[in-house]
Amino acid sequence: MSVPAEKKEKVSVPFDYNKYLRPNKLPHIWCPGCGHGIVLKAMLRAIDKTGFDKNDICVISGIGCSSRTPGYVDFNTMHTLHGRALSFATGVKFANPKLKVIVVTGDGDALAIGGNHFIHTCRRNIDLTVLVFTNATYGMTGGQYSPTTPMGSQATTSRYGSIEPPFDACEMAKASGASFVARGTAYHTLELEKTIHEAIMHKGTSVVDIIDACPTYFGRANKFKSATHMMEVIEKDNTVNVKQADKLPPEKLEGKFLRGVLHKIEKPEYCEQYESIVMEKAKAK
């Protein structure tokens, strides 16, 4: 006997985050409304979707609010020097190319202090997934402006508005030679999950610029009412999906960030190339 369709009810089965977390380290230290927690959840769901074993994944971070992430997740983890997470990650990947290495880094960590490492990691196209948490501020040290702070924004070090033009992490990654460049936001969390999943599965340097909100410093200094208000203004209204962007007139795209996969090409991967040279020379002997 078949069950009538109307009797089938939607059943909610929430994702079990606990299997990837270190429960004794929670609750985390991030401020109320901080977008990093939302991004962390999207990252865990994306990792779960890839089906990799916990021991095959290594999460590496530098210094900063976002870089607290490895402390909460139950993978192989490293909390390293400010800006040097990518150098450590290159070393880990080179020593054990079977590991899936994910670098969690902030905008200041990746683009200011570690700008040089960022460029050269992209240039080598080594198989790393780089998640740049862009909250446009240095939250841990008291809200100084960062390389992605929009012009005219207030910070503790720019009381009359920032006069520095901001970086676009995606453009820089693309120009430096990364083979996968994407952008997501904490607001569009399901889209972000898909983007991170695609980035992890891609062979080569994959950079995902993730726009999230810092309500404590950036929000308060720039007169945002709440974390929700920030998410709506910065993440929802200020971004356009790359698939919709073609249909929109140019004046509607002005000053907006594009979300989704912005650049994806096939390129020789660093570890594979190194291995092929080793094999070639071993055969010659």
Partner: protein, 67 residues
């Protein structure tokens, strides 16, 4: 009759983890949740559609929808 038999979801809130950012309250499409002091509470469980947006956007692992 059908309404009485309708199974309600179970919204589990971890009060120790909730920091009171009110993201779940503001983004709930059917206005199920409310703020009680600095912690979220269920106001109108019947309206819940199990969309899980509260769970997806909670930065603190504090709310989940079961059932």
């Amino acid at each position: 009759m059908a309404d009485a038999a309708k199974k309600l979801p179970n919204i589990v809130i971890n009060e120790k983890f909730c920091k009171g950012c009110s993201i779940c309250v503001d983004f709930c499409p059917t206005d199920v949740l409310e703020m009680k002091g600095t912690c979220v509470a269920v106001k109108n469980l019947e309206a819940c559609t199990r969309c899980q947006l509260c769970d997806l956007r909670c930065p603190d692992f504090a709310i989940q929808v079961f059932g």
